[in-house]
């Protein structure tokens, strides 16, 4: 990448920069969001809004505290809608984006964890640490009830180690393959013994703990899980590994080891606190280069919640979103396996791309493909009238593209969109007062959101 390791702050805080930062740190944005971001400085927007601590959201229901509530289907549904709603209403905070990032990092699947209550508490844990200290998050998630069940920590005991968690802890959560040995896995598993789960609570059982010396990354002692995580984070690979994941999340999927190393330095110099490295990244020259813009493929949840936020929808249709999430392969609390969703190009194939297109058509139509109204109906005339260019077809297309697209439109595509909007009329005839305006806008927005460019963030 041309900019290389350039974590220096950008000098110009303009509309292009604001659109990019909004696109990558929220789930979609609208015109008012861009105006707000530009009404304050970049430092204020990043440090006082995006990265500011947020109050704890209310629980989805009393059931989360009741381990005997076995209404799992309904509770799982409620949990998913609750999280969709947090993403919808998060304001100018990066938090829910980070919670989703961690959900895809410290993976658990509700099917094996069996109680959605446990997934709620894991989700809360990920939210508590969303922009916090990664090492402490790793310690806490190691004895999180959902995680203990998901990766067989509850089966890991003295004399009968189960290596599942120890392996994934190092391979997928902290160091990456090649940065540990099979012996580290075996010894690490011994140090992680002793933990069990009762209902929604993890507890330590001394007689299941391997109360002997272990040698882990060359350190010998009667190590426990805290020692294991501390030793792991003493390995230089830990900061690099995590920053590579952050780089992929916020920049793009290409590898740029020089920049990743520079991020890792910030992370380890700040004792694994996330805010400094996130702050530096979001303000950096390398984040704001042209070639990073539009270089990420949106995930399904980002796409769906984003569409709702772009149109300012107040009452999104969560049941429909959940249906589409299944078709487009991102069901919350049900990642495909312990490595989570692969993301990037894997999101897009000959089944999921058409499903995304039908989703955006449906949002515009306000009606499901098989019939049945959504919980909301867009009023597109009213929507475009919030743009000062609403009566100037050519300018309107440019202005709307700035909300819906990160990738610059070619002249061909602009012409195609203009022809779609005008639907045979002359450009000077365009008016939102025309009786056909709503229908034309429907065609236009469907065409706009069917562009391949719309899949990019």
């Amino acid at each position: 990448m041309k900019s290389g390791n350039n974590l220096n702050k950008i000098s110009v805080w303009d509309e292009a920069a604001a659109r990019h930062i909004l696109s990558r740190s929220l789930f979609g944005y609208n015109k008012q969001d861009v105006e707000f971001a530009l009404s304050i400085t970049l430092d204020e927007f990043v440090d006082n809004y995006l990265l500011a601590d947020q109050p704890e959201p209310p629980q989805p229901g009393a059931w989360v505290n009741d381990p005997t509530d076995d209404n799992t289907t309904e509770n799982t549904r409620e949990l998913i809608y609750w999280w969709y709603n947090l993403m919808m209403t998060q304001g100018y905070s990066i938090r829910e984006r980070m919670v989703l990032f961690w959900h895809n990092h410290f993976v658990s699947e509700v099917s094996k964890v069996s109680l959605p209550q446990r997934m709620y508490w894991q989700n809360k844990l990920l939210r508590d640490f969303a922009m916090g200290n990664v090492r402490e998050l790793t310690k806490t998630i190691t004895i999180d009830p959902a995680m203990l069940i998901y990766l067989d920590g509850v089966r890991n005991r003295r004399g009968a180690p189960n290596e599942n968690y120890a392996r994934e802890l190092m391979e997928l959560f902290t160091l990456g393959i090649g940065n540990y040995t099979e012996q580290d896995i075996q010894e690490g598993a011994r140090a992680l013994t002793g933990w069990r789960v009762d209902g929604l609570t993890a507890y330590f059982t001394q007689d299941r703990f391997d109360n002997e010396f272990k040698t882990f990354f060359g350190e010998t002692g009667n190590l426990n899980y805290i020692d294991v995580v501390n030793i792991i984070f003493n390995q230089p690979a830990a900061a690099t590994f995590l920053c590579r994941e952050l780089y992929h999340e916020f920049m793009h999927v290409a590898h740029d080891e020089v920049s990743i190393a520079a991020m890792a330095q910030i992370l380890s110099e700040n004792n694994f606190e996330l805010k400094p490295v996130l702050s530096a990244l979001l303000k950096s020259v390398m984040f704001h280069t042209d070639e990073v813009r539009g270089a990420k493929i949106k995930g399904p949840v980002e796409l769906m919640v984003g569409a709702m936020r772009q149109f300012n929808v107040a009452t999104p249709d969560y049941p429909y979103m959940r249906t589409v999430a299944a078709q487009t392969k991102q069901e919350l609390f049900s990642p495909p396996n312990v490595s989570g969703w692969d993301g990037d190009k894997v999101w897009i194939n000959t089944t999921t791309l058409p499903a995304r297109n039908i989703f955006t058509d449906t949002v515009v139509n306000g009606r499901r493909p098989g019939g049945g109204d959504l919980t909301f109906q867009l009023n597109l005339v009213e929507y475009v009238r919030t743009f000062s260019s609403s009566e100037d077809a050519v300018q309107l297309i440019d202005d709307i593209a700035k909300i819906f697209l990160q990738f610059p439109l070619s002249e061909n595509r602009k012409e195609y969109l203009l022809n779609t909007l005008l639907d045979g009329a002359e450009v000077y005839d365009w008016s939102t007062s025309d009786p056909q305006a709503e229908d034309r806008l429907k065609l236009f927005f469907k065409a706009l959101m069917r562009l391949s460019e719309y899949q990019l963030s």
Partner: protein, 508 residues
Amino acid sequence: MDRRAFLRNLGVITGAGTVSMVLGNISVRAFSKSFLNVQSVNGKVIVILQLSGGNDGLNTIIPIEDSLYYNARPSLRIAKADAIKLNNLTGMHPSLMPLKSLFDDGKVAIVQNVGYDSPDRSHFRSTDIWLSASDSNVVVDDGWVGRYLANVLPDHNNFNTDHPMAIQIGSTQSALLECTCQGTMGISFESPNQFYQLINGSIADNDPPPNTIAGNQLKYIKEIAALSIRYAEVIKEKADSVQNMATYPDTRLGRQLAIVAELIAGGLETPVYLTSIGGFDTHANQAGSHSNLLTGVSEAIAAFQADLELLRVADRVVLMTFSEFGRRVNQNSSGGTDHGTAAPLFVIGRNVYGGLYGSNPDLSDLDNSGDIKFKYDFRQIYATLLTSQLGMPADRMPDVLPRSFETLPLISDRNFLQGSPGSFQLEQNYPNPFNPSTSINYTVRVPAALKLEIYSAAGDRVTTLINEYKEAGSYSVRFDGSKYPSGVYFATMESGAVRQTIKMVLIK
């Protein structure tokens, strides 16, 4: 496709083809496909069945006389009396009973101890190794099937073929079908009908994106959009044109294989299908779950094989299973097994030389982690499928695999004999002009796999009259034109790189 690429595919530019003079104005669609076909696969198909999670090979194919096995598996062992006996030393898990009669009929080859050097015990890394066919210490981003389709099949790209180059049933696409040179070589869907519904009304977009990181992402999305639009119709048409004749188990895998059988029998010329089933990562309480998994797999495969035979396409199809690794010899204390290494693999089909290949694993000679040492490199199986089944010349192996691998005699190659100049002769049809039907006579001098197709003057393939292995002799086949309009038709016979075409006139 631009005109130059079209002409190149017809052989006009390279001079490789003989057909262009006869068929100068035939449309791109039919003949880019035909050109593709002659140098490639002759209707042969491989179906890959991925068992995700690491199938416990030792409890799949069991060393029934080995006390080391029984000692290592105190609660998980399959008693000798319960195993399905394959020979004096080897048995199958009882849940594989549906495969027993196929084994007895010689349609199941079981290759023992398949793996690779320096095995990796990570699901993800080892899966990548199996999909990419790389060595253990090399990271390769694309899949061996993708490279085969892109590198070995002649001058073409994805968008030139009438039928998709590869199909994955399921809606998360595998790296298996990727090629870094050309992008994805296959398409994926859950079912032909759903796919068709999804695509209906989409429009392709041909703007070339800029060559930037974002531009390349956009290019990929546009390619997928174009692919899905292109193939939805033909897939639905082919799937609708036949009905499964066997009864499949009502499971995800059963449904996947039923779709594959319909598409093959319906005439889709796609040479590679990928299906999959998960759940093999049996770290805990393995006995019941593994048994259920094997039941599911063997019932689905048995139904698939029966269906292929009833649909009369079994000669063209070979199915291969694989899993990213086997499991540790010693069971763990959770009633399960941890990640291991080499394991047996199944190759199934009517043209397979059935039986056991290799001996039981030597449980007295394990590696440092207590895992089985591999005896057959998994790339040997791939090399065998590519050459014996898909007819790839052996010297092309390095274009797909890291180097050449020794093949195994797993598959009869009598159906893969390709014609050479003069090995067959297509005669002018009689009568000609005709109404409504005519006879096409031909002589086979050297036994070979032959195909005879009829094309309209517009270049659309009207029907396939022959697609099978033929012994030497004189033959006659009738073409019934009563369903078709008057006009000029072409009959093209091909085998290997040889093709002959005659012109016929239907006058009603």
